[in-house]
Symmetry: C2
Subunit: 204 residues, 2 copies
DNA sequence: TGATTAATATGCGGGATGGTATATAAAAGA
DNA sequence: TCTTTTATATACCATCCCGCATATTAATCA
């Protein structure tokens, strides 16, 4: 994620013709399609249409379809991790942090640019995992990162026995995942919000 | 599932040439492929290879690819619901029932015939949902059934306030889902079992 | 300005895909 | 035995797939 500025921060462009599109924006458009349709159901034509770029341009910038998909996953992950880091860093109780974090997740899961499609990684990535070592290990990595981030949050804001803490951490991650699944299955925002409210007392 | 006997229970076979294969067995073989690869990555040739049947036979027996997929989902669902009904009906504490239920789930998720692929519905079905109304509504139906079955289990075996009960029911379903996701992401059986053990005290 | 380098636009090609049409084989009914 | 009905086997079709080869355009460097 070295280059997340909107107008490129002078990436010391070399000799040839300069790139005429924004890589991050293209990635974001591609992610939307991958998110909605999944890896296999997404064709290069779909990606070409979504980004406004030709297949050779995509190829030159991102590599083959799977590399493109992984790049899209990485972009989404970076965003999610930023949200989590905020939740950890922000003041307020554990309950406040969790509520804010879930609220942001619901916004993306139920009404994101791809529609009501849950989390791209927990749905399409997980589904694809057995077909691709690269995807499987990336999904495992994200899960590990999520577990650790939640663990940090609890380490900072939860006061209680270690066993209970571990239990609550696991349930907090599971709650995020159920929101993703249920959103993609058609659950509306209010339903998801009421799940969070029902479950929160048990997580703090 | 009117016909789950091995040798057909005389399905009043009509005039023409009798079917030379076991429909349930073919469905089961197909489900294994769909489970591992997901809907889109599974080709009719894959299904043909797995079942030993030709494409026209599959077509005649099950309809098009999506109908075949839905039939496979239904078969798996029936199995899962049977396990859940057992857990509800069996004597023993809530903790006993949950432990047995999760144990059966882990066996399927981590070491089923498709390998470590989680739950076919919660992974491939969920991923496919936005591309197919039929799949989405079926997944929603299964989720609803799961919620209700768990609710029945708690209604019978949990003694406590209604709000707490509802909270624990939701967490119990979420736990099942996290097992599915983590199995498909590569988590081994012991890891999944330790999640269940860590979480169980909070679910009862 | 001319040479060099890189990013586009166009179009193709080998192969896999889902689905079906036709022909053959095997059972039941008369 | 002969007709009818259904299942299987073979082969095919139109379409779409991913990836790339080629030619053109636009920028930098000398």
């Amino acid at each position: 994620m070295r280059n997340s500025m909107k107008s490129e921060s002078q990436p010391k462009r070399g000799r040839g013709r300069p790139r005429a599109f924004d890589v991050e924006a293209a990635l974001s458009s591609a992610a939307t399609v991958f998110h909605a349709k999944g890896f296999d159901a997404t064709s290069l034509d779909d990606l070409s249409d979504a980004t406004g770029l030709t297949r050779p341009s995509l190829y030159a910038a991102f590599g083959d379809k799977e590399a493109f998909y992984l790049a899209a996953l990485r972009q989404v992950t970076a965003d999610m991790e930023a949200h989590l880091a905020e939740a950890v860093a922000a003041p307020g109780t554990l309950e406040d942090s969790l509520r804010r974090f879930y609220s942001a997740a619901i916004a993306r899961y139920a009404e994101g640019p791809a529609g009501a499609c849950g989390c791209i990684i927990m749905t399409t990535g997980v589904a694809r995992a057995p077909n691709s070592e690269a995807v499987q290990s990336y999904v495992a990595l994200v899960l590990k990162g999520l577990d650790e981030a939640i663990s940090q949050l609890y380490a900072k804001k939860y006061k209680g026995a270690a066993a209970e803490r571990k239990s609550k951490e696991l349930l907090a991650v599971s709650t995020l995942q159920t929101l993703s699944i249920r959103a993609r299955a058609g659950a509306q925002r209010p339903a998801l919000e009421s799940i969070v409210e029902a479950v929160l007392p048990a997580l703090v």
